[in-house]
Structures are given as C-alpha cells and as structure tokens.
Symmetry: C2
Subunit: 408 residues, 2 copies
C-alpha cells in the first residue's frame, strides 16, 4: 500500500540516490571477507585511553557546559587551537575564520547550501571524492571535470574548463580520495594563477594532509593563494575555502571537522548550520579539545603515520609480487587510498562480484567520475586491514585479476 | 575588499537569515541578566555522573566501535530501544521505522530536503516553532497558517487552509513551542479526519511529550492516525512522520534525536542524511544508550518533571502576583515555555530593550508568526532559571509591563 508521502518527495531527491559505496559495503558484511572498500581508519590506533581520561576531565570539571546547547560557530578554545595550528603554515587565521562542522560531510553539504543554485557548474577533478558529489547532488548542479593523474589535477586542461563559467573549483591536493595522488607545487601555483585570472574561487578539501609517509610537506592552496594575493591583512581574506577534519587523526565516530574561510563566508556558514543542526555536539568538541591538548595530537599523528605507512608499503609490495602484467597502480605518499587501473576492456564493477565470492572487496572506480568513464579503475584502502590481511587480500585479488587479464 | 565569494551565494541564502532568537541571545550575555529567552534545560538536572559512568563503560568495552564510522540509520540497539518505547503507546514500530538524527533541528532540515520544492505550501500553526521555519526557509516554501489558542491548533480553521493544497501539516501537539499549549484529544481527532479527507500527511513534532506536570497523557497524532486508518500492519505504515529528541530528557549538548516514519520515508531520510553528515556520532549514540538503559531514563524524567513543574508553578504565581491587568498568559500542563499576551498596541520587541536595561530577557513573539502578527506577544522559558531567579525576573518585568500598560 502507498502512503501519502509517496508522491510528495521533492524534485531534488531524484538526483540524490544512495551512496554506491555505502550500499556496496553492505554486501561486504560477510564473515572472513577482507575489505579494501571502506575508508575506515584502523581502530587499533584510536586513542581510547586518552578519550576516557578526557571524558572524565570534561564531565568532572565542566560537565554542565559540555551537555548544554552551545554556539553555532563552535567551541571557542577548539577554534582557537585550530587557528593557532593553521598559523604554523604562515597565514593569519583567527577563530573568526573557523566554523566547526559535524564531520567534513556536513562542511560539503553546507557549501552546497550556501553556494549552489540548480544548474550551476562546479569544476571537479576526474575522478573526485564521491562524498562531495553526494552532498552536492541535492542542490542540482552540473559538473565540469578536469582529468587528474599521479600528480593531481592536470592544470593544462584547467583553462578550457574555467571558460565554462564554473561557480567554484573543488580540489583535494593531498593524497586524494580516491586516487592517492598529490598535486605538485607547480600545479598548485598554476591552479591559483588560472583561478585568479578567471575570477573563480577554490574549495580545498584536505582530510589527509597530516598523514604523509614520505616526501616534503607542500603548502596548502589556501596559503599559496594568500601569498599570491599579497593579502597581508590581519585575518584571512582570500579566495580559498579550506576544509579539514579530526576523523583521520583522532576518530571519525565523534564527527568533528572544520572550515577555514573569510569571515563573510563564515557568517553564511553559521546561518546555514543554524538551520541544519543548530551546532555540533558541545561534548564532542570539548572532549576532542581535551584529547588534543598538551602536544598529544602531534605525537599521536606520528604513530598513525608509522602504522599506515607500513600498511601502504605492504600493499604496494604485495601488488608488485602478485598482480598480473597490464595492471597498474598509484604509489601514494600519504593518505589512506591507492588507485588501480586494469587493462582497457575490463570492468571493475563486474569483477567485484568474483572478488566478493573470494571474500575480498574494493570500490569500483566509475562512481568517482561524475561525467562517466573509469570502468577499468578501482579504489583500494590500505589503512584499515592489518599487514597480514593486506597480503592475504591482495593474493585473493590476484586470482580475480589474473583470470580476467588472461581472458582478454 | 570583496572576496570572490561575495557574488556567488545561492539564491536560497536570501531566505535564510540568522535566527532572531540566537542573535537576541547574544545581547543577553550580560552579567546578572535573568534570561527567560533561551530554550535551555536546567543544567542542574543533567545526569553528569551517569554520563561519566557510561563513557567509561562504552570506551572500555566497545571503544573501537564507538570511535569508528557507523551506519547512517543509527546505532541499532538505540533504535531498538526507541521502537520498544514507542510500542508502549500501542503501535507497531520496528527499528526499521527509526532514523537517528543530529538533534531535532537536523530532522527538520532533512524533512525540508526530501519534501519541499520551492513554492510548496506548508501548513503550520500560528504561532509555530521558529526552528522549523529556519530549517525550511532554505528550501523556499510558502506558509499557510492556522491560528492556535490554549487548546492548540483551532481545527475549525483547518479546512480552509487544507483547500490551498499544502504539501504537509506541521503540528506540535504537546506543550507547544512557543505557546506551551496542548492540543485536545478532540482536536487531534479532527486534525486526522480532515487531513485524511484532503489526503494531506502530517509531521508531528514532540520534543516535550514526556515533560507533563499535570493532567493525563494524550495519545500522539501518530497513534491516533494508525487507529483511524485501521492499519493493523506489522510495521507502521501511516500518514504521520513523528519526531522526538533526547535533548530535553538526557541533554542537548549530545545532539541526539529521532524520526519515526514508514520504511519508504526512512529510506529517503537515509539518502538525505548520507549527503548531509554521513551519520550521527557513534560515540554519542552508544553513550546515550548506555545512560538510558536499565530504567534510569524513566526515573530521571520523573526528577525533571518535579524540577520543571515547580518552576512553572513559581512563574505562574509570580505573574499572578506582579503582572498588571490586561496582561494574560497560558498555563501549560508541561514543557518549558509559556506565552504572554500584552494589551493590543504594545510591542514586545520594543519593550525588550527596556527589559534588557533592567537585566531581564524574553523572546518577542512576532518571529513565530510566519505570516506576520503577534507584535504584542512574547515567549517565556521557565526551565532554565532557578525558582528564586524566576521570582526576581518576573518582578523586574513587572516594572516594564506596568509602565507600558499605564502609558497606553
């Protein structure tokens, strides 16, 4: 029987759809399955003991404040800590430039809410982060894509895309989700120059920036833009909105992320967030602040780098050993993902069924391309499974890929 | 200097505006000011010790799960607990009918996202909950209003409003925000019959239902609708979406609420929530479950009723003693608010300035009327201030109101 709701859904729901990845993850809830499909941190690195101590301190000392309603902008000491941390990069950011969000997914949703009119063009890399497409599809944009390679967005193709009049450019310069690629310093500078030439602002998504396992840290696009504009103002006033998160450094289960932007943009985010969820959990913000204080977070991130760096090395070595000729993959310098390209003509979504039969899973690459393509690509997560499971999982995938390559 | 963002905001941002109440609350951050303006629970009733114990149990026993990503629908034991609790009312609701949200504000936002096209008419009470208007304005609806009195929405006026073709009806039947009024059983039944006759579904917002200080519990509109439809199906399949929250029974700082709806509607909420914030904090859901278990919540709600019931009585008695002739107010049977009507010709927003000078604050009523009116009304919260502060605050307001009434 139909309910009265059935014919009343808003037009935008036709664009929304369920996340292909999250639906796929349901198929992988099989005992013994080794999943490289999710984007999960390793639970072994969660600072559970530090959390326990922080909860105790917060509830004992400021419990009534932690459990009460609070401001939409976010807990001031936490915003102050983020601002001070951002200043290390050599840019003047004050707490007034920071909005706390309920995970980066909410930052993406609020971006869509304050910026996207139906039909607006948004310039993204191909492939790009699926969560951004999912947040923004509800606001009914069109996408303009610029191809990316192992060095990030191919800026040689950027100008043609900019001439279509996009509302903003969305990039993930560090260890991109899904490819693991890092945008070179030269391309970052080209991006800023071309964006400035065409007067198009930039959204920089940087969830993994601190998880670098080799090479030198590169300055965020936000910082390069500030230098390029020779802004010199006391607070950040540039053309980049920067986002990052505590999900990969503290824990994703507390849903805590932030946006850095000019004050006028923060004012719009505050309006949008008031309507969306009033504010992010006071308790979680205070506990995260308590966990991060006194240098613990820096020390903890060094530990995470060691664990994930080793897992990346194990996965790369196992692929080298097992994968058949014709299969290639990226060698990320950080983050949680790498990107596999199968020979042309193979379909990663089709092969996924065989993989699940052998109790191993990945994410087919096609959904990461908003304008189509990528059928022969796939994303592999290396942060969640143990080194032993990674070796076993890659050995299982070898059988799937070798059979497919030989049948070509 | 302008940024590139300045001319790029979406059209919907023109409708959003900042919450009048939240902006006003900033003015009341003055030492010694007695505020009846917010909608804050009393921090003295927060179960801080139980929270501390629950955090310890959750982090010690299932810490890795609590800090990890989880499903969009919400933590199954919590949904199961809510479903079992709902079944007490005599209606078959399973966990598949429950969506956990990041506070009720997010439930309202997701409702707007899945249901409201620009220009759709939404039928609301006048006055109605400001947070709903704020969530929905971003989706650009029109409002159709039905006046309300001390017995809730005046259903005699409902049919004319239904004939304008609204997408859904929004009601707060118990101890409404802002008026404190409760819809009578007879009017609830009339609402359901007329809604059924015109084929228009209902959204029932019930944040305060458990905070009743006198009189008999009335069945939710959801339950009455289920009985009227003689549904008899194993899972709820009716025309009402019901929402409630842990903000008034456990604590608002953890941002935890829920929606009850037919499964097909829950599927749409899940899609919308995936894009909006992936999921609500795993940690907070597990801690709230742990706090609520083993009968603690029922016992704690009895304590809250005692504290708030006394504060209501103190406020009513102080008004009776101090307020001048011509000023009237509601006598709520529960909840956190009551509603004051000044003589025609007085402007509660104007008088607010004098009140703040005397270090006492309330919320002017006009913003609660989406189609205008209500200049001589105001909302008073009685849950947050202590009985002594309530008496002192009402005495201060006496001076403001008496002077204004005498000058008429």
């Amino acid at each position: 029987m139909q309910t009265l709701w059935e014919h009343r859904y808003a037009k935008r729901t036709e664009k929304m759809g369920s996340s292909a990845i999250r639906e796929l993850l349901k198929l992988t809830q099989v005992p013994g399955l080794i999943s490289f499909a999710g984007g999960l941190p390793a639970p072994e690195v969660f600072p559970t003991e530090e959390f326990k101590a922080a909860c105790d301190v917060v509830l004992s000392e400021v419990g009534a404040q932690a459990l009460q309603y609070s401001t939409t902008e976010g807990y001031l000491p936490l915003r102050d800590m983020i601002a001070r941390h951002s200043c290390r990069y050599g840019i003047n950011v004050s707490p007034d430039n920071i909005q706390i969000t309920s995970g980066s997914q909410q930052a993406l949703d609020l971006l869509g809410k304050i910026l996207i009119n139906p039909g607006d063009r948004i310039l993204v890399e191909a492939p790009t982060y699926l969560g951004a497409l999912q947040a923004w599809n509800a606001y009914e944009p069109e996408y303009v894509t610029v191809p990316a390679d192992e060095n990030g967005m191919i800026t040689e193709h950027l100008e043609a895309a900019l001439r279509t009049g996009p509302k903003f450019i969305y990039v993930l310069p560090n260890f991109q989700n899904p490819t693991g690629s890092t945008m070179t310093l030269e391309r970052r500078k080209q991006l800023i120059e071309l964006a400035d030439q065409y007067g198009v602002p930039i959204v920089e998504d940087d969830p993994y920036g601190q998880l670098r396992y080799e090479g030198e840290h590169l300055p965020p696009v936000l910082v390069l833009d500030d230098q390029y504009q020779k802004n010199g103002q006391a607070d950040y006033h540039g053309n980049v909105i920067y986002m990052s998160t505590f999900s990969k450094t503290i824990a994703p289960g507390i849903r805590l992320a932030w946006i850095v932007a000019p004050k006028e943009v923060i004012a719009k985010f505050v309006q949008a967030k008031q309507g969306a969820d009033l504010h992010t959990s006071t308790f979680n913000q205070m506990v995260a602040y308590e966990v991060s204080r006194a240098g613990f977070l820096d020390q903890h991130i060094r530990h995470i780098r060691k664990v994930y760096g080793e897992r990346r090395n194990v996965m790369l070595a196992a692929m080298e050993e097992h994968f058949p000729k014709g299969v290639t993959w990226t060698k990320p310098m950080g983050g949680m993902f790498l990107w596999v390209t199968l020979p042309e003509g193979l379909d990663a979504a089709e092969l996924m069924k065989k993989a699940i039969n052998l109790k191993v899973a990945y994410v087919p690459g096609a959904p990461f391309f908003p304008k189509g393509g990528g059928a022969n690509t796939l994303r592999m997560n290396f942060s969640n499974a143990s080194p032993e499971m990674i070796q076993e999982g890659i050995a299982r995938l070898r059988d799937v890929f070798t059979e497919a390559v030989e049948a070509l």
